[in-house]
């Protein structure tokens, strides 16, 4: 078996953070990959909720879209999109919101709206989707993002979903009641918010990754926690399961276009 790629490590590390039985509201893409990997390894009773209304989905392959038929077929129940946001997310049923973004900043604010100015953007991104409310209403959120200077920035161009805003207690001051982002997982490391300043601080490095690498790939003058953990390397089971899933997904999505 070839060694795990940085992207595979990121997915595997993220999956480990989801404990069995957790109710998890999953964004599409890598969050969905990580959540399903967790479900197929150490957390068989992880409950996956997608904003398309599928509760308890158990897809056999990664969905390409958040509303793939695979999600509905394998779910315990499928409710309207209205209901998923009102009764389930806003109703306080979700323990972990699992999000991606185009940019994350030093205080864990997320941008998925525009690069540049809102009224005349350099790049118009898809937009908020469910993220602002997932970020504000799940008990806590995990964020997963590729480690890149243009993605991990000092200040996001647009706060789509509030992290710790300007740091300190500014999130609480604005009336947001949940605890917010508890971890940012990248392909190099994990950040966690500093207990008081809420600045994202490196707490964990993936195997073989140096502080220098992290510094060079981060858009702010990055701080490291006093104690840094080294990520356990992927187990064979984790890597096998992930690659199997990727392979099945590849075949399934290639086939369905006929």
């Amino acid at each position: 078996m070839t060694a795990a790629s940085p992207s595979e490590i990121m997915t595997i590390v993220a999956s480990r953070l989801l404990s069995n039985g957790t109710i998890c509201f999953v964004g599409i893409g890598i969050p969905s990959k990580a959540a399903n990997l967790a479900r197929l390894t150490h957390a068989p009773d992880l409950v996956l909720i997608y904003e398309s209304g599928t509760i308890g989905a158990r897809p056999e392959v990664f969905p390409l879209s958040i509303g793939d038929g695979e999600l509905a077929t394998t779910a315990d129940t499928v409710v309207s999109t209205t209901e998923i946001f009102s009764y389930w997310l806003q109703g306080g049923r979700v323990a972990v919101g699992f999000l991606g973004a185009a940019q994350v900043d030093r205080f864990a604010n997320l941008n998925s709206t525009v690069i540049g100015n809102y009224d005349s953007p350099k790049v118009r991104l898809p937009g908020a989707g469910g993220a602002p409310e997932i970020a504000a209403l799940a008990a806590e959120t995990f964020v997963i993002i590729e480690h890149d200077k243009r993605k991990l920035v000092e200040k996001v161009d647009f706060v789509t979903s509030a992290g710790f805003l300007d740091g300190g207690d500014s999130r609480q001051q604005r009336g947001i009641r949940n605890s917010g982002p508890s971890v940012i997982i990248t392909d190099l490391c994990c950040f966690r918010p500093h207990a008081e300043t809420k600045e994202l601080t490196v707490t964990q490095l993936h195997p073989g990754v140096t502080r220098e690498q992290v510094r060079n790939a981060t858009g702010w003058s990055v701080k490291f926690a006093d104690e840094i953990f080294e990520t356990e390397p992927p187990t064979e089971t984790e890597l096998d399961t992930l690659r199997d899933l990727e392979h099945r997904t590849e075949l399934a999505h290639r086939g369905s276009g006929a």
Partner: protein
Amino acid sequence: MSKYSPLADAIQTHISDGDCVALEGFTHLIPFAAGHEIIRQRIRDLTLVRMTPDLIYDQIIGMGCARKLIFSWGGNPGVGSLHRFRDAVENQYPNEIEIDERSHAAMAASYAAAASGLPFGLLRGFVGSDLLAHNPNLKSIDCPYTGERLATVPAIRPDVAIIHAQQADRVGNVHLWGIVGVQKEIALAAKRVIVTVEEIVDKLDAPPNACVIPAWVVTAISHVPRGAKPSYAHGYYERDNEFYRSWDAISRSRDKFSAWMNQHIMRESFETLHGEPML
């Protein structure tokens, strides 16, 4: 009292230039065929509404039919950007497009409010988000019991909602299942409702609490098998993920997009591309 008519007639009769139109579908049951008919009829100045504008909105925008978009997530799911949408927002091509941007939860609340005959929806929404600063429609009120500040969104009451469903009976009662998104809400929010269906059955065999839209809510209905292609219809056909992927390259260049639209939508029929002809 049949409400059935050919799709082209339904679109021509019930949609006019300048209308506010919502073609809904959360990845599933997206009314592509109806969207293509809007393009073919060169309807202009539309206010388009949708939680998840995707390829069909990229096409409608790219063909210059829209002047405004009310939405919460505009992308090619699992693939990336909508290039025609981006070109309109970033470069005002083929025309400037005004945007009213909300979150999914806020859009859903806007639809539910309209369906419920209320002028606004109430939610714990977008606190701390810059959306608030850029959309004057997003406001807030104080709870008369707890004093908490809560978010509000204005109801959205489109002139026309268009949805695609799996089945209807001969009277026009409509049954959809699987990921039903906000289709019932938008049908009840809109002034007029156009439905396209995969199949006409003698009797709906819907479970007691299924998502059924009674015929008397529907303005016009058309039998359009494969009318959701390249999205999917649960129980009928799967999502054409390859097409979604290929759209990225087609839509990236203005010329390629125009050529493709002319060939597949304007001149020939879309169905040559996606299988058996529509009735």
